[in-house]
């Protein structure tokens, strides 16, 4: 039994007479501790899959298992709990609370968790030990994204989901972020799922899921993932 299992998952939208399937029978599985990359062109359904996996949306059909639990059957409350304790989310546009300092942003997450890590230490872990008391407006893009990651990690979740984490960052900073994610996965054994449309970074992953038109086009297991510093694009 895999850590994450998607079994014929459908997500349909009704737009008047037209039915659009954002996820059209998606099936895959991810093992624990893997660094997984989901690639695909725009409209492939990657974000949909991530949203469903992250408990932010329901599917219309199919089964989703995370650590053995059937997530697709969760009601609203259980989904909130799922998000609270089991999932860490990193957004493309960071979505930090402007009115809180970096530390407080992370504390926002640790305060509601039941197995949270110490916020300060997590921030130090992402390299922001001396920027803890700055507001997001006083931080650079990369620093903000790191805060975002710290926020996700501090909750000590079962899995870490990242939606185009480097989308708003430049090449160098982006690489730094990816390295952070990869290191986290290796050091803590956290299952990390990253969505991107950048094919070039797929070598760094343990598993590569390619999606197209709402379906899994291919799923590859990479026995020898490459450290991201070594990848150039």
């Amino acid at each position: 039994m895999s850590f994450i299992e998607f079994e014929n998952v459908y997500k349909r939208y009704q737009m008047g007479e037209v039915v659009i399937s954002a996820a059209d029978g998606v099936s895959f599985n991810i093992e624990q501790g893997e660094f997984c990359v989901i690639v695909g062109p725009s409209g492939a359904g990657k974000t949909t899959v991530l949203n469903i996996l992250g408990g932010m949306d329901n599917c219309n059909d199919g089964k989703i298992r995370v650590a053995g639990d059937l997530v697709n059957e969760y009601d609203k409350k259980k989904l909130t709990e799922y998000r609270r304790y089991d999932v860490g989310f990193v957004f493309q546009f960071y979505n930090l609370v402007q009115n809180l300092t970096a530390l407080e942003n992370v504390e926002l997450a640790t305060q509601i968790g039941n197995k949270s890590l110490d916020a300060k230490r997590v921030l130090e872990g992402v390299g922001l030990g001396d920027r803890m008391n700055n507001f997001p407006s006083q931080l650079s893009g990369g620093e903000q994204q790191r805060v975002s990651i710290a926020r996700a990690l501090a909750k000590n979740p079962k899995l870490l989901l990242c939606d185009e984490p480097t989308g708003a960052l430049d090449y160098k900073t982006g690489k730094q972020i990816l390295k952070l994610l990869q290191d986290t996965s290796i050091e803590t054994g956290m299952t990390v799922v990253v969505i991107t449309h950048n094919q070039a970074i797929t070598p760094m992953a343990n598993r590569i899921i390619a999606m197209r038109s709402g379906r899994v086009h291919s799923m590859e297991v990479n026995k020898n993932p490459v450290p991201v510093e070594r990848i150039e694009w």
Binding site: K76, K77, F91, N95, V97, L108, G113, P136, S137
Partner: protein, 1150 residues
């Protein structure tokens, strides 16, 4: 503007309907209040003006001190500018129904003013008659057709309910002879009317009754028997053109008044001369007649008195006799009773003894009956004894005989002599049977016989001994038995005795019963007789009472007639004396009761109009500003795009301007339509109970409408432009990028480490969020403050209005007296011990009382044109007055006392007349104006009072004080007792039983009568304020919360993703709202206090003073209701937050 842009406008309206509507709502509110409050005043005046014109209300009233005549009327009508003239006769009178004096709504004696009316006015075509001025409006029933019919005042607040259609009323004079004025004094009420001369519930002052005029009635001209008019009403040509109460009207009328005044001298001279000729002779002859009549009356009365006294005497004596008889008979009865009782006692003693004896007897009998055969045995024994005795005696006889025979025989044998003797003896022996035959009784035979006989004798003796023994035995037995028998006999005797006694006893009982019957009958007879005698006496007494009553009645009648005649003489004389100083009083409408106070009320409304709408407009602008700012922010990128496309700033801005303007115009239309109709009507109706006028005519005032629209548009458009301005100056590129989120800032509180460290995380977030957006912060706080302030004002106003009656008449009120007793005579001082005064002094139901002079008169001052009806009180004892009326200055809290030289006036009166301590006020007494210098101002809540010390009254009014009123306070025990109402009624009846008492009014009656009026007023005010406040709170809070959420949608979605429960997400926003609401409430409660004071001083009605303080309940309710509104809004926000889709909100901002 391009079609596409226009479509955009319409679609964005559709999409953001709630935003659009919120602007409409706040604008509507603002314009509604603006238009409404501004319209009330002119509407009120217009309504009155129309009414006055329709009913041809007089413009000028002419009154003469010596009466007006037809020629006077003609003179006036000739004057240029006079349109119509209506002469009228009036008289003030007391009213009684079914013989009982009518009491007014406040319990005082009801007096009315009877106006004459020409019955022709009510006939077909009567309205065309130009002389029909002050036209009546028939409310119920019909107009009079006969001389003994009338129509009356129907005002609920002024007139008692007894004055209804169908009732028969009798008018009576007070201090004058009504029969000299009216030929008909009994009228049937056939209808109820309204007149434009009395538009408020105030009726004014009069000289009859207690000084307060109760109501008006209209009676046919024919009922008056005077030959002069009291008033001439005049209308001016073209006066309808001038709006009521306007300056132009005043300026128009004044010259005409002067013209009329100019002709007065001529008319007066004419009239005076006439009177000089006719009156003095009448007075003379009248006086003489009166003197004569007085004499006659005296004689008649003395006679009648004697009759009455006789009857009285009988009644009294009869009483004594009856008493004596009763005593005697009673004594006899008592004696008989005593005897009977003794006999009874004895009887019962006898019965006891009998019973005791009977018991013993029964016991003995039982004993004896153990030996039932005793008697038989005895008898047997006796029989045996007797037979033994007989036997013995026979034996003894036999023995004796034998012995005799023996003796004889022996003798015979011994004798030898004489055979004869021997033959005789033998013969004797044969005769006696001893020997049988005459056989020759030889001696041997004889000797044989002798031996035989001797043997017999021995046997007989033996037998005799036996018999004796038996006899003795029997005797013994008998003796024994006889003892027993004796006992039995005794017993029998006893039994017989007992039976006899029993019989005796029953006889005795019978006797006793008979005598008891007799006694009872005697008693009954006695009672019956006594009753008869008493009944007779009663009858006699009644007769006396009836006779006495009749006598008293006669006395009253005669006295009244004499009094009336005297009045006539006096008034005629007074008239003659005044001829030299005669003048006309020519006045305008301002002297009409209620005329000026109506105007004043209308004016008060205008004061409101300055403040309230401003508040709402300001708010409208603010809301529009925030709303449009939000809208612009949301459409940022669109703006940038349009700019990039090449649209001018103007074109782009126009969208928002049009959006705002459209909303504003719709809002104005709604606001104005309600504002010109509902609001003025609501306000007018809440004052409605004070005025008798037709329903409000609502007018559309273009001025106010345009002003309202203009101000609204200005505020909203300006706000929109301001909102756009910032964005529109920015270059398109920047616009198209997402707006940089507002940077977080440290809050001042953070520096206070001490507090900051203690706050938990969420509190820190809340504090920072609070201060992040200053505009929102202030708007919410002020919006809420406004809501709470309005509520507080509303409740406070309600409380203040509700405080009037208790403040004046309640437990701790100004009036510490519980009842007012009006007297029909003016007592010169309590030295003139009227019995009612002694009654009050001695009765324990009263705790305190004081004698006063009470009168209603008109007061004014140099600082105002208005006339005020005030109650004048002159106490006999200033100190006692302080015990019965709380005289204290409200502002300083000092208590005042009415000492010599003092004149104290009530606070409201002082304020209205602009008078302070030391200033003078002017009193209108009849036709004179008298000044009084004020030495103190006292707290008071209902009506106006002027307290004058005795010496000042005498000095200023030039006459001695005649006390006509008693103020009294009930004792505490009386007030605490059960069934207080019936006790009060009893007390009132007892007081009214004294002739000199005219009326008794309890304060509790006053409170009852006015209670419902005040409650209604209260309800309207509270509803209006609460409604406005609610609308305000809702719009402000809802709007701001909406904006708050839309601004922070991303933030909220993020924390949702982080796993915050719905509740926690809502709380994230709530906390700020709650704090802001609490701050707003606090501010509102504070600000509400001065607003409340302001509203009170403006909205106050003339005759009352609203309570100045706000009770704690108002504060609590205002806060609670605001919280309630906030709660509802929060609930709605919660629902909105729940709906935030994480996925949608966090979509990349590209």
């Amino acid at each position: 503007m391009s079609k596409a842009l226009f479509k955009d406008i319409l679609r964005s309206i559709k999409k953001s309907l709630s935003r659009f509507i919120s602007i409409i709502a706040i604008v509507a509110l603002g314009t509604c209040f603006f238009a409404g409050i501004n319209a009330v005043s002119p509407d009120m005046r217009a309504t009155a003006g129309k009414y006055f014109n329709d009913k041809k209300l007089m413009d000028i009233n002419v009154v003469s001190t010596i009466g007006l005549t037809d020629s006077d009327a003609w003179e006036i009508s000739k004057i240029d500018g006079v349109k119509a003239v209506m002469p009228s006769k009036t008289t003030d009178a007391l009213v009684s129904i079914d013989g009982k004096g009518l009491l007014g709504v406040d319990g005082s004696v009801f007096s009315c003013r009877a106006y004459s009316i020409d019955l022709n006015f009510f006939l077909e075509g009567g309205e065309k008659n130009e002389s029909y001025l002050n036209r009546l409006t028939l409310v119920e029933g019909r107009y009079p057709q006969k001389t003994n019919e009338c129509v009356v005042d129907g005002c609920d607040t002024a007139v008692p309910k007894d004055l209804a259609v169908g009732k028969k009323i009798t008018l009576d004079g007070d201090g004058y002879n009504i029969n000299s004025t009216l030929s008909v004094t009994e009228f049937t009420i056939v209808g109820i009317v309204e007149t434009p001369t009395f538009i408020s519930f105030e009726r004014g002052a009069t000289t009859v009754g207690c000084g307060k005029l109760g109501g008006f009635i209209f009676i046919p001209e024919g009922a008056f028997c005077t030959d002069y008019y009291t008033n001439i009403f005049v209308t001016a040509e073209g006066s309808e053109k001038y709006p009521a109460y306007s300056k132009k009207y005043e300026e128009f009328i004044t010259p005409l008044i002067e013209k009329i005044q100019a002709v007065s001298s001529g008319c007066i001279a004419c009239r005076a001369e006439e009177l000089r000729q006719t009156l003095p002779p009448k007075i003379e002859s009248g006086a003489a007649e009166l003197a004569l009549k007085k004499q006659e009356a005296e004689e008649k009365l003395t006679q009648a008195r004697k009759q009455v006294d006789d009857v009285k005497y009988y009644a009294k004596n009869g009483e004594a006799e009856l008493e004596a008889k009763r005593a005697e008979a009673q004594a006899q009865l008592d004696k008989a009773q005593k005897e009977y009782d003794e006999g009874e006692a004895k009887y019962y003693e006898g019965v006891e003894e009998y019973n005791r004896n009977y018991e013993e007897y029964t016991k003995a009998l039982a004993e004896a009956n153990k030996n039932p055969k005793a008697r038989e045995q005895y008898y047997a024994a006796v029989k045996a004894l007797n037979s033994a005795k007989l036997k013995l005696s026979t034996s003894k006889e036999g023995i004796a005989f034998l012995e005799q025979s023996i003796k004889s025989i022996e003798e015979a044998l011994e004798t030898r002599d004489g055979q004869q003797l021997y033959d005789d003896i033998v013969k004797a022996l044969i005769e006696s049977g001893i020997i049988d035959s005459e056989d020759a009784m030889s001696r041997e035979e004889l000797s044989k016989k002798l031996v035989e006989l001797k043997e017999k004798l021995v046997v007989s003796k033996e037998e005799y001994q036996k018999g004796m023994a038996e006899y003795l035995k029997n005797k013994a037995a008998v003796d024994k038995a006889s003892v027993l028998i004796e006992q039995l006999d005794k017993l029998d005797a006893a039994g017989e005795e007992l039976a006899r006694v029993n019989l005796q006893l029953s006889d005795a009982k019978e006797e006793l019963d008979t005598s008891k019957e007799k006694l009872d009958i005697a008693k009954m007879k006695f009672e019956y007789e006594i009753k008869q005698a008493e009944a007779d006496l009663e009858k006699a007494k009644e007769n006396y009472a009836t006779i006495d009553e009749q006598y008293q009645q006669k006395v009253k009648e005669i006295n009244k007639a004499l009094q009336n005649a005297q009045y006539d003489l006096d008034s005629a004389q007074a008239l003659v004396n005044s001829l030299d100083d005669a003048k006309w009083y020519v006045t305008g409408r301002s002297d009409l009761q209620g005329y000026e106070s109506y105007n004043q009320t209308a004016q008060n409304m205008q004061a409101f109009a300055k403040v309230f709408p401003l508040f709402f407009f300001l708010l409208a602008a603010l809301i529009c500003l925030t709303t449009m700012t939000r809208m612009v922010e949301e459409e940022r990128t669109q703006l940038g795009t349009l700019k990039a496309l090449g649209y001018t700033t103007k074109a782009i801005a126009s969208k928002y301007v049009i959006y705002a303007a459209l909303a504003t115009i719709i809002g104005c239309i709604i606001g104005l339509s309600f504002g010109f109709t509902l609001l003025p009507t609501a306000i007018y109706n809440s004052y409605g109970m004070l005025f008798t006028l037709p329903p409000l005519t609502c007018r559309f005032y273009f001025g106010y409408a345009f002003a309202g629209i203009f101000i609204s548009l200005l505020s909203t458009v300006a706000a929109s432009l301001y909102a756009c301005r910032n964005e529109l100056i920015t270059c398109p590129a920047l616009l198209m990028r997402p707006k940089a989120p507002k940077s977080g800032k440290r809050v001042a509180l953070e520096r206070v480490d001490f507090i900051w460290k203690r706050l938990n995380f969420t509190s820190k977030v809340t504090v920072r969020n609070l201060f992040r957006n200053k505009k929102r912060f202030f708007m919410t706080v002020f919006g809420i403050a406004g809501c709470t302030g309005l509520l507080l004002t509303g409740f406070g106003l309600g409380g203040s209005i509700g405080a009037i009656l208790p403040g004046q008449y309640g437990e701790n009120g100004i009036a510490q007296y519980d009842l007012q007793i009006a007297l029909s005579e003016n007592l010169s001082s309590s030295g003139d011990k009227s019995e009612v005064l002694s009654f009050i002094d001695s009765d324990t139901r009263f705790a305190a009382s004081t004698l006063t002079y009470f009168r209603t008169l008109t007061a004014t001052s140099k600082n105002t044109d208005e006339l005020f009806e005030a109650n004048l009180i002159v106490p006999e004892n200033g100190e006692m007055l302080s015990k019965l009326i709380k005289l204290q200055n409200r502002k300083s809290g000092k208590s005042l006392s009415l000492n010599d030289g003092d004149v104290i006036i009530s606070e409201k009166l002082a304020k209205k007349m602009g008078t302070e301590v030391g200033d003078k006020i002017l009193i209108k007494d009849g036709n004179e104006t008298l000044p009084l210098k004020v030495t103190g101002i006292t707290e008071n809540y209902a009506y106006h009072y002027i307290y004058v010390s005795r010496d000042i009254y005498q000095a200023v009014f030039g006459e001695d004080v005649g006390y006509n009123c008693v103020l009294a306070r009930l004792s505490d025990s009386m007030k605490k007792s059960t069934q207080l109402d019936s006790k009060k009624n009893t007390l009132a009846t007892e007081l009214m039983g004294h002739d000199v008492v005219m009326s008794v009014i309890f304060n509790s009656q006053i409170i009852e009568n006015f209670g419902s009026t005040i409650d209604t007023l209260n309800a309207v005010i509270v509803t209006v304020f609460t409604g406005a406040a609610g609308a305000l709170a809702f719009v402000v809070l809802y709007n701001l919360s909406n904006i708050n959420i839309s601004e922070r949608v991303r933030e909220l979605a993020t924390i949702k993703v982080l796993g915050f429960y719905d509740k926690e997400v809502s709380q994230y926003i709530y906390r700020e709202n709650v704090i802001l609401t609490l701050m707003g409430i606090a501010l509102g409660l504070i600000l509400g206090i001065p607003v409340h004071s302001y509203v009170i001083s403006v909205a106050e009605v003339n005759v009352v003073m609203f309570g100045r303080s706000i009770d704690w309940q108002s504060f609590v309710f205002s806060a609670l209701i605001t919280l309630f509104f906030a709660f509802i809004v929060n609930l709605l926000m919660h629902l909105k937050i729940q709906k935030i889709s994480m996925v949608e909100s966090l979509k990349s901002v590209e």
